[in-house]
């Protein structure tokens, strides 16, 4: 793209964007600083860097069993959820990618209508209860398993694959199933990876369904453990650890919360820069109307 603009405008633009960069990253940075701060007992409020670095709160957080139970459950949920969702999406999207499939239009419409109308909170909740899924992991992975949006995006991707591949396989005697498993799926790894990331992040961050569909502390998800610590501020084991930490640092309530926040988003922060382009690519692929 051609650009012809003045130097002054450029400087203003870069300054403004640097401001945006700072504003978006600062909230996360505060948590890093607070969690690592050695605590010189001075007001720990507004520091750009920790006065002394200490890993005390991290060491103590490792004794916080509920956190690790949550971690484990969330990992299980995420893996299971991603596998189920991707399978269901691919199996649905493949037939729909055939433009001359009988009933294609009707089935697509049938799946699209629920974009506009839905049952809402209570009917969904009652449905899960009646299906006997309450307090099982299925209540968390099945209801969101098949998203019409994801199906449409994958369908569009399948349609963009060259038809001749399929035709030549058919001439060689392959059926649809073999074509799907051996040719289409391997070629679709970009879109499968993209959607797996979306679904995975969704499961990692999901909390409301876990809040309403489960009530067993052994099955508690990471986000709910965090909610008890950060928002409600009162799990019992947490206060034991807090007392230990308080001997060293008077502002340790905030510190322990920051530490727990860091521990839970660390996996995300590490992989995020690598995943980011796939997230965006997926949106772009999806924007192609079809």
């Amino acid at each position: 793209m051609v650009r012809y603009g003045s130097k002054v405008a450029d400087i203003l633009l870069y300054a403004f964007m640097t401001g945006v960069l700072i504003i978006t990253l600062y909230p996360f940075w505060t948590q890093v600083v607070i969690s690592l701060d050695g605590g010189d007992a001075a007001h720990s409020s507004f520091k750009l860097f920790p006065s002394t670095i200490s890993f005390d709160s991290y060491k103590l957080a490792f004794d916080f069993d509920a956190l690790w139970v949550g971690y484990k459950n969330t990992i299980i949920r995420t893996c299971l959820g991603v596998v189920i969702s991707i399978l269901a999406t691919a199996i649905t999207a493949y037939p729909l990618s055939k433009k001359d499939l009988p009933l294609n239009k009707w089935i697509t419409r049938f799946m699209l209508i629920q974009f506009i109308i839905g049952g809402g909170l209570i009917p969904n909740y009652l449905l899960i209860k009646y299906l006997g899924m309450y307090n099982t992991i299925w209540a968390l992975v099945i209801p969101g398993m098949l998203s019409t949006f994801n199906v449409m995006i994958m369908r569009n991707f399948f349609r963009s694959l060259p038809e001749s591949l399929e035709e030549s396989a058919m001439v060689d005697g392959a059926g649809f199933l073999r074509i799907f498993v051996r040719i289409i799926l391997p070629l679709s790894m970009p879109i499968i990876a993209t959607e797996a990331l979306w679904v995975g992040v969704g499961h990692w961050n999901a909390w409301f369904d876990a809040l309403i569909y489960t009530n067993d502390t052994n099955k508690e998800m990471l986000q709910l453990v965090l909610r008890r610590i950060i928002i409600q501020n009162n799990p019992t084991q947490f206060s034991d650890i807090l007392t230990k930490l308080q001997e060293k640092n008077p502002y340790s309530g905030m510190q322990l919360q920051a530490t727990v926040i860091m521990l839970s988003i660390l996996p995300m922060l590490v992989v995020y820069p690598f995943m980011q382009k796939y997230f965006v690519k997926g949106i772009m692929v999806g924007a192609v109307k079809g």
Partner: protein, 323 residues
């Protein structure tokens, strides 16, 4: 018949006679039998998880008891709606919902567009990528964590109060102050979402033919002029579609955020329809009433979206609408 003719499909199809069409239709069913079987689970799934709850909306007209079940509970007609419309608490949450989401739309809708316009003017690719990556980040963090972070920033010992104290302002308990709470909700939700919402505008801006800009430059158009007369007009269809889409969500004031950030001190300004439905339905177990309120919300949302779509169609034609 060879496979290719069927796959290549549509145009020749229409030219054929009726009997031939019927024949090829039967042939298509046979050919795609396996693929149709593959779709059965999806159809069942959508029926159970999307359509059964729509049917379940009927409990808005029932005095629903979980022990008596859907069919055993007595009908009460519009009683739940009458109860809602005569309850001042309902009007309070309705007012909060509308206010919060209207503020959010007025401030939050233009910002992603502005951000995309400005960032597309940044030449340095690495810097641009860095800003973009940072701006998407909050979208991938749950509101439990974002809420916790914002609460710590706004707490008495947080940086905002520290800066204010430099100017001699007494510490403010932001999260418990009805004066500030709505603004906090709006500002923090924009902070968390503007980057991600700007993606679609980026895509549209990248899609603009560079020749248009080159020609304008030859004609002596500056940056601002080109933005005003090329980029923005070409963005209008996308902007319009996004606006129509956001109209349907006007009663979605952001459950995740508010549920994790509010507290009893600010209920009066922060309680919205969704949190109200949650409390009435799942905490007080007043299922019928909560469903009625939820249904009211969806119907208004649907009407708003249809109206906005209709208006957009009248103003700009097909490019500006959802359907």
């Amino acid at each position: 018949m060879s496979k290719t003719t069927v796959l290549a499909g549509q145009p020749e199809w229409n030219k054929r006679s009726k009997t031939e069409q019927k024949k090829s239709k039967r042939f298509a069913y046979k050919k795609y039998r396996l693929l149709l079987i593959m779709l059965i689970p999806a159809v069942l799934y959508v029926t159970i998880f999307n359509y059964v709850p729509i049917y379940g909306l009927l409990i808005a007209f029932e005095d629903f008891h979980i022990t008596k079940g859907f069919f055993g509970s007595p009908w009460v007609g519009l009683a739940h709606f009458e109860k809602a419309f005569s309850d001042p608490g309902f009007y309070l949450v309705l007012k909060n919902t509308v206010l919060i989401s209207v503020y959010r739309m007025i401030w939050g809708f233009p910002i992603p567009i502005l951000f995309a316009l400005l960032l597309s003017e940044v030449k340095n690719v690495r810097f641009k990528k860095a800003v973009q990556t940072a701006s998407y980040l909050p979208h991938f963090i749950s509101w439990i964590i974002l809420g916790g972070i914002f609460m710590s920033i706004l707490s008495l010992e947080g940086p905002v109060n520290a800066i204010l104290s430099l100017f001699g302002v007494d510490p403010i308990l932001f999260m418990a102050d009805t004066k500030y709470f709505r603004s906090i909700l709006v500002v923090t939700s924009i902070l968390a979402s503007f980057g991600w919402s700007s993606i679609i505008y980026f895509a549209a801006i990248t899609g603009i033919d560079p020749h248009l800009h080159e020609a304008a430059v030859v004609d002596g158009a500056g940056r601002i002029k080109r933005m005003m007369y090329i980029t923005i007009p070409l963005l209008m269809p996308v902007i319009s579609i996004m606006l129509v889409l956001s109209m349907s969500g006007i009663l979605d004031a952001g459950f995740d955020q508010i549920f994790n950030m509010y507290n009893s001190q600010v209920y009066d300004v922060a309680d919205i329809i969704d949190t109200y439905v949650y409390r009435k339905g799942l905490v007080d177990m007043d299922y019928g009433y909560a469903t009625a309120v939820g249904l009211f919300k969806s119907v208004i949302g649907l009407i708003l979206m249809l109206t906005a779509n209709g208006l957009a169609k009248r103003m700009g034609g097909g490019d500006y609408t959802l359907w």
